[in-house]
């Protein structure tokens, strides 16, 4: 009996060691925000139409700031994240550089509960009629002036018809972030506008980004507003509104990295990454 146990233990250790050895010298890590387009871009995903970056693997973080922190400590080589948050990160963190080349083309939209067709219609209607107001919101976040914080109403479980419950991940400035008890961001202010037009109380539920889309239609969540890129996979769980923002993924590198300085197009960047692996 003892022999068998020790044999099994030996086998475990052996496989463990092989596993660790095999994972060394493997793919180069690129930091992304878990569940975002960047993750699919690096790893490849047929639903998104991404081939993936050969020789690279995405490492998912709960937000961009942590990914950058890990890039600085050397755990990941680069970070790929949406452009607007990347510029925001650049403003706040020293020692990083945003390669200003759009690697993807995508649009953001709100994900509405599939069971609420009328809510989808109302949101689309507001997005269409209030175009100027929405443009003004986007512009003022680009300048960082006159921002209006929104305090989430207390969720009232017994009165779901009087509230607009929005799922978000408030770690994605300038689209959604939190300062003290107030939520800020483009998505937040648009949702506040929607709630005002529909005469509803706005409840903001801050959760992990991975959970945002899945939560829609469950436990009273009506809409996902989290800089959501439109895609077929997500469209299986939510109905997308019309899009309100053109977005793209960009590469963030340490400041002293000059490898991508000569790149002009997305193809250049991808070719360069291929060369560096």
């Amino acid at each position: 009996m003892k022999k068998i146990i020790s044999l099994i233990l030996c086998l475990f250790m052996l496989t463990g060691t092989i596993g660790i050895l095999a994972s060394c010298g493997d793919d180069i890590q690129i930091g992304v925000q878990a569940g975002t387009t960047g993750e699919y871009f690096v790893n490849g995903d047929p639903d998104w139409g991404f081939e993936g970056l050969d020789g690279y693997a995405a490492k998912g973080y709960s937000n961009g700031g942590l990914a950058i922190a890990d890039m600085k400590s050397g755990a990941v080589e680069y970070v790929i994240i949406d452009k607007a948050p990347a510029l925001q990160l650049k403003k706040a963190i020293k020692g990083i550089k945003v390669i200003d080349i759009e690697l993807t083309e995508e649009t953001y939209a709100f994900g509405v509960d599939k069971a609420q067709a009328d809510l989808l219609a109302s949101i689309n209607n507001i997005l269409a009629t209030e175009q100027d107001a929405i443009k003004a919101i986007i512009d003022k976040y680009a300048q960082g002036k006159n921002l209006v914080g929104v305090v989430s109403a207390k969720e009232d479980v017994s009165n779901p018809d009087k509230q607009l419950v929005v799922a978000t991940n408030a770690a994605f400035a300038p689209f959604e972030y939190k300062e003290g008890e107030k939520f800020y961001g483009i998505d937040i202010e648009i949702m506040a506008l929607v709630a005002e037009k529909l005469d509803l109380e706005l409840v903001i539920k801050d959760m992990e980004f991975d959970a945002v889309v899945t939560s829609v239609g469950k436990n009273g969540v009506d809409v996902a507003a989290a800089g959501l890129s439109v895609n077929e996979e997500r469209a299986k769980s939510v109905n997308f509104s019309t899009s309100y923002y053109d977005a793209a993924q960009v590469l963030i590198v340490p400041e002293d990295c000059t490898d991508f300085d000569s790149c002009r197009t997305a193809e250049d960047v991808i070719a360069k990454l291929d060369e560096l692996k």
Binding site: A171, D206, N219
Partner: protein, 228 residues
């Protein structure tokens, strides 16, 4: 550092932190209460003499329950409960309530095992004497055995409470803002995580030290009846 205090004090981060602390306390305290009550019931079922069919059936059910809740991580239970089970039965509950229920159910599985060892640590003569005096089984359990066993397992119960307090850091998965989430939000807003996380660690440390002191106090009180 200044950035942290700006967000924590001037911009009202402390209010979120206090609310988070309240949620953490609520979940841990009510979770432990449910855990102790349900855990005691399960423990009694498991030590009950099994001459009849009913106790045997109950024992099997309790065994499955304990295996289920001890065998899966609490995060998974939380996610399944909130995102799968509740929508499936069409019920809508507040996140904190769901967390309290799941923490209570999970804790019950662990407390039942502690309680069982506590009950078994009380000399069988105590139960026999109580029965010989004409007490029914349930009464002998509740009045004689359980009080003594609680005294025996108090340190481990204190431990369970501490574990629950620290485990509340997972409730942000179901969009509940607890103390961890409150400090993470400050980190997310400033892109500076060192100070908020160190501060958070300090808060937990103080919380746990407080609980440990409380448990010690209770232990000392309960020891008064003992012969020195």
């Amino acid at each position: 550092m200044e950035l942290f205090f700006e967000h924590f004090i001037t911009k009202g981060g402390y209010k979120v932190a206090l609310e988070g602390l309240l949620a953490t306390a609520e979940i841990a305290v009510f979770g432990l209460i449910i855990g102790i009550l349900l855990g005691t019931v399960i423990a009694i079922v498991r030590v009950m003499p099994k001459y009849k069919v009913l106790p045997r059936v109950l024992d099997v059910i309790c065994n499955i329950y304990v295996a289920l809740f001890r065998g899966t991580p609490m995060v998974v239970q939380l996610l399944v409960g909130y995102y799968v089970l509740l929508p499936a039965i069409g019920l809508r509950l507040d996140g904190v309530v769901v967390a309290v229920i799941i923490f209570g159910l999970n804790s019950a599985a662990y407390v039942s095992e502690m309680m069982r060892s506590g009950i078994q640590s009380v000399d069988i003569g105590q139960l026999e004497a109580a029965r010989a005096l004409g007490m029914p089984y349930a009464m002998a359990m509740m009045k004689i055995v359980i009080p003594q066993s609680i005294k025996n397992i108090l340190p481990t119960l204190g431990n369970e409470f501490i574990v629950l307090v620290k485990d509340t850091s997972i409730v942000s998965f179901i969009a509940v803002v607890d103390i961890t989430k409150a400090f993470r939000q400050i980190g997310d807003a400033t892109y500076e995580y060192v100070i908020p996380y160190l501060f958070l660690a300090l808060v937990y440390l103080v919380l746990v030290a407080g609980i440990a002191a409380l448990v010690k106090l209770m232990e000392r009180r309960l020891k008064k009846s003992e012969r020195q």
